[in-house]
């Protein structure tokens, strides 16, 4: 079973991702509303994969990607953000994220992006 953590400052987005994830062997084990909470939850639940928003209070998603990879370098991270410019996607990848999905997204796009993330 692949353990997934969802990080987004929007409660409705966290819940939506949780409802839409429709992949065999993937189970949502934790959610977090900002980067600091994500680090705490990561230590507690040790997820294998993470969906990560960027624009969040306290610690943004790019900083959080770096923090989580310092804790466990083989964590698979899919950045899901409204920031639609190429430079932001490239920066996220450069910091160690494995994929980028732009908001708004639908069920198929989310599951395809997660499938690719986990197959890499």
């Amino acid at each position: 079973m692949i353990k997934l953590m969802i990080v987004d400052d929007s409660n409705t987005i966290r819940r939506r991702i949780e409802r839409l994830v429709n992949l065999n062997d993937v189970s949502v084990v934790a959610t977090a509303g900002n980067g600091l909470e994500a680090v705490r939850m990561f230590k507690k639940h040790q997820p294998d994969a993470v969906t990560m928003d960027i624009t969040m209070p306290h610690m943004d998603g790019i900083q959080c990607v770096e923090a989580l990879l310092r804790l466990r370098a083989d964590t698979r991270i899919l950045v899901i953000s409204a920031l639609a410019d190429k430079a932001t996607a490239l920066e996220a990848i450069k910091k160690g994220a494995n994929g980028f999905l732009c908001k708004p997204f639908n069920e198929d796009e989310l599951n395809e992006a997660l499938q690719e993330l986990l197959e890499d």
Binding site: R16, A84, D85
Partner: protein, 151 residues
């Protein structure tokens, strides 16, 4: 703020509703609003802008529209708290998507959400502010863009 900036937000609003529901929104002709006017529905998500532009972008919508959007997205808890969250997320998405055209130096803040009429006006003095009316199903909302070039 020029015609192209407005076009970016008009296209963004159209794309958003096409993507999150099976019913596209009709984005009506934008119009100018002065700083001492306000257009506020039940919930408003405000994004502060800095970098290559400065000002703010806000999305304001009536409660029934947000409740319907939550329902369409399968959210079982149709509450005011989730309406607030949804309006902030829409403001964030429409502003963030604008970076596709306006670049990474179009910096957006985390959303601030207001419920009801604010005590202070939201529009910056001196900026030209445009209202982009958005018709989705039987509901009307608005995206208000109040920006000027920085530097």
């Amino acid at each position: 703020m020029n015609e192209n900036d407005i076009k970016v937000f008009v296209e963004g609003a159209t794309h958003y509703f096409q993507h999150v529901s099976d019913e596209p929104a009709v984005v009506q002709v934008p119009y100018l609003i002065s700083h001492n006017e306000s257009l506020i529905y039940d919930f408003t998500g405000i994004i502060g802008i800095s970098g290559n532009r400065r000002g703010n972008v806000y999305f304001t919508a009536p409660r029934p529209m947000l409740k319907f959007l939550l329902m369409v997205q399968g959210e079982p808890e149709i509450t005011d708290e989730n309406c607030s969250d949804m309006v902030g997320e829409i403001a964030n998405t429409l502003s963030g998507n604008a970076r596709r055209d306006l670049g990474k130096d179009f910096m957006i803040s985390v959303p601030v959400v207001l419920q009801g009429k604010p005590e202070q006006l939201l529009l910056a003095k001196g900026n030209r502010s445009f209202v982009i009316p958005i018709q989705w199903r039987q509901y009307t909302a608005a995206l208000v863009v109040s920006l000027e070039k920085n530097g």
